[in-house]
């Protein structure tokens, strides 16, 4: 009796607590509801949905056996799995109206505990009953059936269709059952069908803008797409339901990706405080520990996960994914192998394993693994895309030269081999010296004509904005033909990606992302004059306005961009930081930093060791560096309304020049542009005053002045096709072959497919006796599949002759004449080559 009274008293106290509650459902707003009203299942679940799990549990208990299923559901949310199972069992025993919901609840609990076969058996019972008479089921029962099909789809992916149908039936039976739609979205997410998933989540959010489940699903989707909105969306979900474990898990993963390990730990703590059986949260906790070398934390988390499920395949799959997102691909493969060993049917684990075997360059094994994943689930877009790509790549040409394996489509192979292989060898030597490390095997470099193929290679789906990607000693990038001419420099991109090989390798893949990117951009600038990112008015205005990250948080600029251009700015910012570090501490600072990371030091400790300075103090140094380098320019720029907008005296002068130019006042225009130019020393916008001054110079016939202005641009901008083309024309007109050659080389690294450019460069090179260049260019002409290949081969033979390689020249000529014995010019060359040096036969 006393216990009952105590229980009643607790209920009354709960009801007073509920009196101020706002229950957020689309049909039942229970402002000021009493506990008695909350006995309704929806009301209880609404409390749970608002994160008020104590209240929800109390209300469910108060309702007695009629809400046993609801109690079970709440207990599951709290991670009290045994109690939940008892509640479900009780509901089933009394044949409660929602007994089927209890059945699937129990089946899912079995799954969570790793008793997969029993879970499948239990789910099959529900499925069988549904097949028999599911049409008459209630909305909640349809939902239960859908959950059963989801479980059963572990062994037969086609059953996902049945799940979708059941969820749809649930929603049709009760359009207020928004959970049905959320589950559809989640199901699509598991198949990487992003558009369909988004549609489902948006549909729910259209009804209820703060639906926590839909927001959490949307956050997962945004996370997968690399959207900067993911964190905000997850936080919105948590604002709606502070106890929503999936949202906490998303937040934890986002922190982990941003290398904010402490924040990741805090987020997992919050998740585990709600549900200590959340294996995903333990997995992220384990990953956070492992990534920083905290083996105790890793072991603790693993032990807790194994206490829930003795063979937690998903735990290891999550670890694998975390490792991969930190570029620890070998470790990712290791964890994924462990997951597959536990559950050979796990599509998720097979997918992670296969994808990363491919990233490590083990194409046959990776392909075989993905075939297994695809056979188990043919609806997985990621796996299908990747297998389709591998089919296409089976026709690629592989050139093994020196320290590289170049893998390209047959159409691109010849041209890529002419340029890329020598460039990569040059880069290799430079980087090996600087970073005191060399790869243990040949570097595999894949080049894709089609950007969609490159994107699939990189992330399994179309839509990646990057130009290249590094997986260590396996690199991939867009071919120049994958983009519009003039949009990127394919030489500097190749150099950039190879630099990652060295910084990742030297640090055992522990280098922070910002530092690896910063060094890669810096190495681009070292490779060739004008390569690599350069300062722009937009960048400097953003810097001045505080829109860029301090050194201590520079990684956030890559991982959590606050506006669209921040990632791009962060690349350049990181490279400036590296420049400053080198200036202040010498070139040895980088090998020292990478070694510190290799040894497992966190960023602040690594910097302390390498620079003997605390990380925070480097912010001040960088500020001084920026002031000394860009002080004048910064004084003439102001940030506009949004990031990337620019105002200030520079813009005013530029505008004045443009207006004067439009009204044909050349002198006034020139004066204004020169004024603008002087305001930004050390900064050369690609469409800035120099371009206009060049055009004005041409209008008055001053070619020398035009060239001077154009070179200000072309010496700084790596893909300025129009200025380089104009500069080349001017040099050609003046007969300045050496300057012409430089301009043409720059053009080729932006757009190499115009045979006429190669011919022009070959001819200029021959004129100045630069025969190796002439030979290379004649080979490039042949690689462009010229309209007259025999003529092109003849010119190559001439260039070989000029270079003194008479054996190769003769071989070439004989090859030409074998095809075309009547080719008179080649005949004459053959006779020439047969003459002994210095005289006729």
């Amino acid at each position: 009796m006393s216990d009952q009274l105590t229980f009643t008293h607790r209920v009354r106290r709960a009801s007073r607590a509920l009196s101020g509650a706002i229950v957020l459902t689309s049909t039942a707003l229970l402002l000021g509801a009493s506990c008695a009203d909350a006995q309704d299942r929806r009301a209880i679940l609404a409390l749970a949905d608002a994160g008020r799990l104590d209240d929800a549990e109390a209300a469910a208990r108060a309702a007695g056996s009629s809400e046993a299923v609801t109690l079970g559901d709440v207990l599951v949310l709290r991670g009290r799995l045994d109690a939940a199972d008892s509640a479900y069992a009780a509901a089933i025993a009394v044949r409660a109206p929602l007994a089927r919901v209890a059945q699937i609840g129990r089946a899912e609990l079995l799954e969570r505990r790793g008793a997969i076969d029993q879970a499948l058996t239990a789910a099959e019972v529900i499925a069988e009953a549904y097949r028999r008479d599911g049409r008459a089921w209630s909305a909640e029962e349809h939902l239960a059936a859908g959950r059963a099909w989801v479980l059963l789809s572990r062994t037969d992916a086609r059953l996902a269709q049945q799940a979708l149908a059941a969820f749809d039936a649930a929603f049709a039976a009760d359009p207020t059952l928004l959970d049905a739609r959320v589950r559809v979205g989640v199901l699509f997410l598991t198949k990487y069908a992003a558009a369909d998933a988004k549609k489902s989540f948006d549909e729910v959010l259209g009804v209820r803008a703060d639906h926590p489940g839909a927001l959490a699903g949307l956050a997962r989707l945004q996370e997968f797409e690399g959207s900067s909105e993911a964190m905000e969306t997850a936080r919105k979900a948590l604002a709606s339901n502070p106890a929503l474990v999936p949202a906490h898990v998303v937040v934890a993963r986002l922190h982990l990706d941003a290398e904010a390990y402490d924040s990741a730990r805090v987020a997992t703590d919050r998740a585990l405080a709600v549900d200590s059986t959340a294996v995903d949260a333990w997995a992220i906790r384990a990953a956070a520990g492992w990534l920083v070398g905290d083996s105790a934390q890793y072991r603790m988390a693993r032990a807790r996960a194994e206490a829930i499920d003795a063979k937690p395949a998903d735990f290891f799959a999550t670890l694998a994914e975390a490792a991969v997102r930190h570029r620890r691909y070998s470790d990712g493969v290791r964890w994924a192998e462990e997951a597959v060993a536990i559950d050979p049917r796990s599509v998720r684990a097979l997918g992670v394993l296969g994808t990363n075997q491919l990233r490590l360059g083990d194409i046959p094994t990776g392909r075989a693994t993905l075939e297994r994943a695809f056979a188990a689930d043919p609806y997985n877009t990621w796996h299908k895309n990747t297998l389709d790509l591998l089919d296409a790549m089976s026709g690629f040409r592989v050139a093994e030269r020196g320290r590289f394996r170049l893998v390209t489509s047959p159409e691109e192979a010849a041209l890529m081999e002419v340029y890329l292989l020598p460039l990569l060898e040059e880069a290799y030597d430079s980087l090996a010296t600087r970073y005191r490390w060399t790869p243990s095997r040949a570097v595999r470099f894949e080049v894709f004509r089609n950007h969609a193929d490159f994107s699939v290679r990189a992330i399994g789906l179309n839509g990646l904005g990057a130009l290249g990607v590094s997986f260590g000693d396996v690199l991939a990038m867009d071919a120049p033909s994958a983009r519009d001419p003039g949009t990127f420099n394919w030489g500097s991109t190749a150099w950039h990606e190879l630099a990652h090989t060295f910084t990742l390798g030297a640090s055992a893949n522990r280098v922070p992302r910002w530092l690896s990117e910063g060094l890669s951009v810096l190495e681009e600038r070292r490779a060739r004059r004008g390569w690599g990112a350069t300062a722009s008015p937009e960048f400097l205005a953003a810097y001045k306005a505080g829109q860029l990250r301090p050194l201590s948080r520079i990684n956030d600029g890559f991982m959590r961009p606050r506006y669209p251009g921040e990632i791009q700015f962060s690349y350049y910012l990181a490279s400036l930081v590296c420049e400053m570090l080198e200036r202040e501490f010498g070139a040895v600072v980088f090998p020292a930093l990478l070694e510190a990371f290799r040894q497992g030091l966190e960023t602040s400790d690594a910097f302390q060791r390498a620079t003997k300075q605390p990380l925070d103090s480097l912010d001040a140094r960088f500020t001084r560096y920026m002031t000394s380098r860009f002080g004048t320019a910064l004084g003439n720029l102001e940030a506009g309304e949004g990031p990337g907008d620019v105002r200030g005296p520079y813009v005013d002068a530029l505008r004045a020049g443009a207006e004067a130019m439009a009204s044909k006042r050349a002198d006034a225009a020139r004066a204004a542009f020169e004024r603008a130019q002087a305001m930004l020393p050390g900064v050369e916008p690609v469409n800035g005053p120099s371009w206009y001054l060049a055009r004005l110079a041409l209008e008055r016939g001053d070619t020398v002045a035009a060239i001077t202005q154009l070179q200000r641009i072309t010496q700084v901008h790596e893909s300025a096709l129009a200025p380089n083309t104009l500069e080349a024309e001017l040099h050609a007109a003046r007969g300045d072959d050496r300057a012409l050659m430089q301009a043409l080389e720059r053009i080729i690294w932006t757009s190499p497919y115009d045979a006429a450019v190669h011919v022009q460069l070959a001819e200029a090179a021959a004129r100045v006796g630069a025969w190796p260049v002439a030979v290379r260019e004649r080979r490039a002409v042949l690689a462009t599949r010229p309209a007259d290949p025999l003529e092109a081969r003849y010119q190559l033979a001439r260039a070989l002759q000029g270079a003194g390689d008479l054996t190769a020249a003769r071989r070439e000529v004989l090859g030409i004449l074998e095809t075309a014995p009547g080719f008179e010019q080649a005949q004459a060359l053959l006779l020439e080559l047969r003459q002994p040096p210095g005289g006729a036969r």
Binding site: L790, E818, L830
Partner: protein
Amino acid sequence: MRPSHVLRRALLTALLLSGVWTTSLAAQQQHVLIITGLGGEPAYRAAFADVARRLHDVAATRWRVPAAQITALVEDPTRDPQRFRGRSTKDAVAAAFLAMAGRVKPGDLVFVFLHGHGSGVGPEATVNLAGPDPTAADYATYLSGFTQQTIVFVNAASASGDFTRVLAGPRRVVLTSTKSSVERNETQFAGHFVRGLESLEADGNKDGRVSVLEAFDYARRETEKAYEAANKLLTEHALLSDSTLAATVAFGARATSSDPRVAALIAERTALEEQVTALRARKSTMPEATYDAELERLLVAIAEKTRAIRAAGGTP
């Protein structure tokens, strides 16, 4: 008006009157008929006229076809009255064939080039001219009398593919820019075909002449590259009716000389070239070093013959 059977009788009559057959290559004449149709828009009008003009010039200057043996019928002959003989109508086309029939001798080469907007299927396939359009069947009638000449018929229009099977026959090479009447998009074949002829880029074996096969291969290849460079799906697939014959029919004059010494050198060189061809056929059966040595010997000998021809004042 029903010109077809009337025309056929006229053609046969003309041919009978043209004299005794001869197969002497040295006496072979080339006859060129260029027909371009209605453009519909200024850009197409200009493009078709440009192709006609360039082809006219190739025939006149490179192939050295006498002016009287070149007929260009276009949409607007006033654009270039020096080159364009008349407006391209069905009657004018029929009359041009008739006139050509009156000129040709046995063994001559007849080159017909047709370009414009094509349509229709099978024998009813046409290229759009002003007024009624001659069909493929009509063109077959026009050509029916040229039994002792070699015919090269190029239809570079869209939807031209069916002309191949309607016009194919002995001593005929038919080229079309598309493989069927279904490929109806604007074609690029004509421009590349003409460029190959005028630039000699199509001269694959560098013998100073462009064979029909070389011209076809060049145009097809360059067309494909153009689509690839523009990142567009290839919507035209050129066809050639007889590649064997096409390899033996060439535009332009062979090297000859009235000087017996030079003529003998040319003949010797031709024999050496034939030995190279025979050697290549045996390549797979020979040791590499033996093949290479023999090839070089022959090629050096050919080169020396060419040098000798030049030294003797001949044109190789």
